[in-house]
């Protein structure tokens, strides 16, 4: 009985709303048609749906649909206006003034009028994001901002602590409404807002089920024009094999990131489009330089020579990726193409180990001063991370051939993180970094970043690298920074604090009926408002 009343009330409120505000849906003229439903599969469940407390990919995709930043980043990695129409940079790059759109509105809550988006919301978002009691992974990324002030209802000015290059891209963080969170001071996962968020984006949250199925509906008032697809539904799966089967049997329309082992199956099927997209990420083996055995550069280089990356890439990933030589994602402007990846050469690896003073000991394991070259490789357990298992097992087998004993230890995700980032109890890890457009690697290799929960987990320290990183941060010239990065790439490749592996080509798979699909390299759904489904393709 209660449920019925609520629905009736909601319908009534909706009717009232339509009459009073005389809404006209903004249609866009880009050749797409409105309507249709898109079910996409997700492996796992989102924790929270707001852009501040969430830290998983699934939530990231949802908040990309619900929210906007002051600026956006387009397919060509260029900054485009979003909630800010234009901006000015003054005071030698220390002040950023944003002139906001006047036609953006927040999604309406049931029974409420949609409120306009104003400068207060921007100020509010920054304050709540940097509040010490707000639990968010974003905080460290906005340390460079000193403060924000509202100049008028549609103008805000951010002051930076010091000028930095590419600061504009960082203003793509999502803006939340000042009237959103129940607690206006700080935001935790207990706030109802994190589960029922409202934003300015192309889609509005309709419902989220107990099972974390997310239903999103087109925002008729979206300032860029109504998105084409009526409804986006994120379906949670607990088993990736089943998720792929669900697409094969039309129960879902799209998988954002296809498991490499399922690629051949989908490739052979004419009903689907398998679309590659660039990812600004790479995989690597990272070494703990606190271990004296690994502190010697020659040992690390030997490991890189000993493994056959081409063979692994071909056998495990159907060759879908690029082998890399250094610390930048090959899709980015910072990557130095002149540094070539080392070729597979086990003899050279053995020579390097001997140079470093190792001799073959008993049972074929190399020794130095009676100490065996025996190392622990820690890997997080992911239930179906078959690709991960394959790479680490192959790594172990390659190293065994040059007389290095590697013990693989699978740990559950959270304790793995503790071992690597807190207690530094590991010798080698296998992991991936995912970058945004800034190609900022300072936190990975600068010696000031050694310590608990910091990203330089392997305690790599080199004054030359440090000074290059500092230099790159100080420069405001893009070309100059690029030159520095090229030098840095060369140096880090030579030093091998990691064995850099590859960037994999990501594949999205979707039913042919979904048209005009483009996928953002690390935000995925940025262009989803332009996707459409032709009427004759709908069930």
């Amino acid at each position: 009985m209660k449920g019925k009343q609520i629905t009736l009330l909601a319908i009534f409120a909706l009717a009232a709303l339509c009459i009073s505000s005389n809404v006209q849906a903004l249609t866009r003229n880009d050749g797409g048609v409105d309507g249709g439903l898109l079910n996409y599969g997700e492996y796992g469940r989102p924790a929270t749906l707001d852009p501040i407390t969430s830290n998983d990919m699934i939530s990231l995709r949802v908040s990309e649909l619900l929210f906007n930043g002051l600026v956006g980043i387009d397919e060509k990695q260029e900054i485009v206006p979003e909630l800010a129409e234009r901006w000015e940079i003054s005071d030698g790059g220390r002040a950023y003034t944003f002139y906001l759109r006047r036609d953006a509105t927040w999604h309406a809550r049931a029974g409420e009028e949609p409120l306009p988006f104003t400068a207060d919301d921007v100020v509010f978002t920054f304050r709540i994001m940097t509040h010490p009691k707000t639990i968010t992974p974003l905080k460290v990324r906005y340390e460079f901002i000193d403060g924000v002030e509202k100049l008028d209802d549609f103008t805000v000015r951010f002051r930076l602590k010091r000028p930095i290059l590419n600061a504009l891209a960082k203003f793509s963080f999502k803006i939340i409404p000042a009237h959103g969170p129940a607690n206006p001071e700080f935001l935790t996962r207990r706030d109802p807002f994190v589960h029922q968020p409202i934003g300015t984006g192309p889609y509005m949250l309709k419902s989220i089920t107990g099972d974390r199925e997310v239903v999103l509906e087109a925002n008729e008032r979206y300032f860029k024009g109504r998105p084409h697809v009526d409804r986006f539904v994120g379906k949670p799966f607990a088993d990736q094999n089943i998720m792929t089967q669900a697409m094969m049997f039309n129960a879902i329309d799209m998988i954002i990131l296809v498991n490499p082992r399922n690629i051949p199956e989908i490739q052979g099927d004419r009903r689907f489009v398998l679309q590659p997209y660039n990812a600004l990420s790479y995989s690597f083996f990272g070494y703990n330089l606190r271990n004296p055995l690994l502190a010697d550069r020659r040992v690390r280089q030997a490991f890189t020579f000993a493994i056959n990356r081409r063979e692994m890439l071909d056998s495990f990933f159907n060759g879908q990726g690029t082998i890399i030589s250094g610390p930048f994602a090959p899709g980015s402007w910072a990557y130095n193409l002149d540094v070539l990846p080392l070729q597979y050469d086990p003899d050279r690896a053995r020579d390097l180990l001997e140079e470093a003073g190792f001799r073959p000991g008993q049972d074929g394991v190399m020794e130095k001063d009676g100490e065996q070259l025996s190392l622990t490789l820690k890997v997080p357990i992911e239930k179906e991370s078959e690709a991960v298992k394959r790479v680490v097992l192959a790594f172990r087998s390659y190293l065994r051939k040059i007389g290095v004993d590697v013990r693989v230890e699978f740990k559950e995700w959270l304790s793995w993180k503790e071992d690597v980032f807190l207690s530094h109890d590991f010798d080698i890890i296998f992991a991936s970094w995912v970058f945004d457009d800034s190609a900022d690697i300072s936190s990975l290799f600068h010696s000031a970043e050694i310590g608990p929960w910091k990203n330089n987990f392997g305690a790599y320290s080199n004054p030359e690298v440090d000074s290059l990183i500092v230099e790159s941060k100080l420069t405001l010239d893009h070309e100059k920074r690029r030159t520095i990065y090229r030098k840095l790439h060369d140096l880090v490749a030579e030093e091998s604090p990691y064995t850099f592996l590859w960037t994999l080509t990501n594949y999205a798979a979707y039913q042919k009926k979904v048209r005009h699909v483009a996928i953002h390299p690390y935000k995925y759904f940025s262009f989803a408002d332009e996707w459409y489904i032709l009427e004759e393709d709908r069930p």
Binding site: A47, T188, Q245, K417
Partner: protein
């Protein structure tokens, strides 16, 4: 009903309730003890070292001393407050109830399937002894009890998709697609068949029924030309069946953890797995306790049924 039997009923019910309450108190203590002894601090992990422990504790409102933690936790539970999930920040109880009902369907359905398979085998072999018919049936019960249930699930899905072209999985719970009967039935059947208890249920029922068949009064009834079945129904049927249901609930609930994964069934078992992975202490605590409550309720119900069927036997 006579006065004395009302009193007995009240006494038995009261005693059973007291036992249940005591057991649940024990359950809460065990769960708390395990998590209290656990190393690591989930809150600091969530934050990845962004702030000191005390600040977080203050923000989340967690007391520090162990007995204070236990007492505040138990008193909250009694008021229906199981805390909020570390991972999602949502109230644990409402989260569990939202999906728990699905698990209840799955479990009860599976128990039904188990009985539907086990009872005929048990009856046949209790009535007929070891014949060329019952031995293969018994062996078959052994075979299906020994299969890893997730593999059985994969086989069922494969056959259903490749042979019959039906996709037997409920995708999501928002109802954006129509209901699909196989999608509901297949997981129930797989769990009913594969929960590993069929051979035990068969054995137990056969023994109990065999005993009833052999007892004097049935022979008398038989001699008088009465039906064997009608007389044996109460004693040899209802009591053992409710008994075995009550004892097997925890097994089937455990099996549900796996089956829910395979069939994407939006239930408590999947949530438990998720909670174990993210070390969501409040959530896994809540799930364990709710599961224990379900088990105890099943047991309580069984005692009540037993009392109604045979007050004398259940009273002592």
């Amino acid at each position: 009903m006579r006065f004395s039997s009302v009193r007995t009923a009240a006494f038995v019910l009261g005693r059973e309730l007291a036992i249940t309450a005591l057991l649940l108190a024990g359950v809460s203590l065990v769960v708390f003890a395990i998590l209290f002894l656990a190393p690591g601090d989930p809150f600091s992990l969530l934050l990845e070292g962004q702030m000191g422990d005390d600040a977080v504790r203050e923000a989340l409102g967690v007391p520090t001393a162990w007995y204070a933690q236990y007492l505040s936790w138990v008193s909250n539970i009694l008021r229906g407050n199981f805390g909020t999930s570390v991972h999602t920040g949502l109230p644990v109880l409402s989260e569990i109830i939202r999906v728990g009902i699905n698990t209840l369907y799955l479990t009860l359905g599976a128990l039904l399937i188990t009985l539907v398979i086990a009872i005929p085998i048990a009856l046949l072999s209790a009535r007929m002894g070891n014949t060329s018919l019952t031995l293969p049936l018994t062996i078959a019960a052994y075979v299906i009890s020994a299969l890893p249930v997730f593999w059985l699930g994969y086989i069922a899905i494969y056959i259903s998709t490749h042979r019959f072209g039906a996709f037997p999985i409920v995708v999501g719970s928002s109802g954006t697609q129509g209901l699909n009967m196989t999608a509901f039935l297949l997981p129930i059947v797989v769990l009913g068949v594969g929960n590993g208890t069929i051979s035990e249920v068969v054995r137990y029922l056969r023994e109990e029924m065999g005993r009833v068949f052999a007892e004097e009064y049935i022979r008398t009834a038989k001699a008088k030309g009465g039906s064997v079945w009608r007389h044996s129904v109460r004693e040899g049927f209802i009591v053992p069946i409710t008994q075995i249901i009550a004892t097997k609930i925890p097994f089937v609930l455990g099996g549900a953890v796996v089956v829910e994964q395979v069939f994407n069934w939006p239930g408590m078992g999947r949530m438990a797995w998720q909670a174990a992975q993210t070390r969501d202490y409040p959530l896994i605590m809540g799930i364990t306790i709710i599961a224990a409550v379900i088990v105890r309720m099943g047991s309580l119900l069984q005692r009540v049924v037993h009392f109604m069927v045979n007050p004398a036997a259940a009273g002592d």
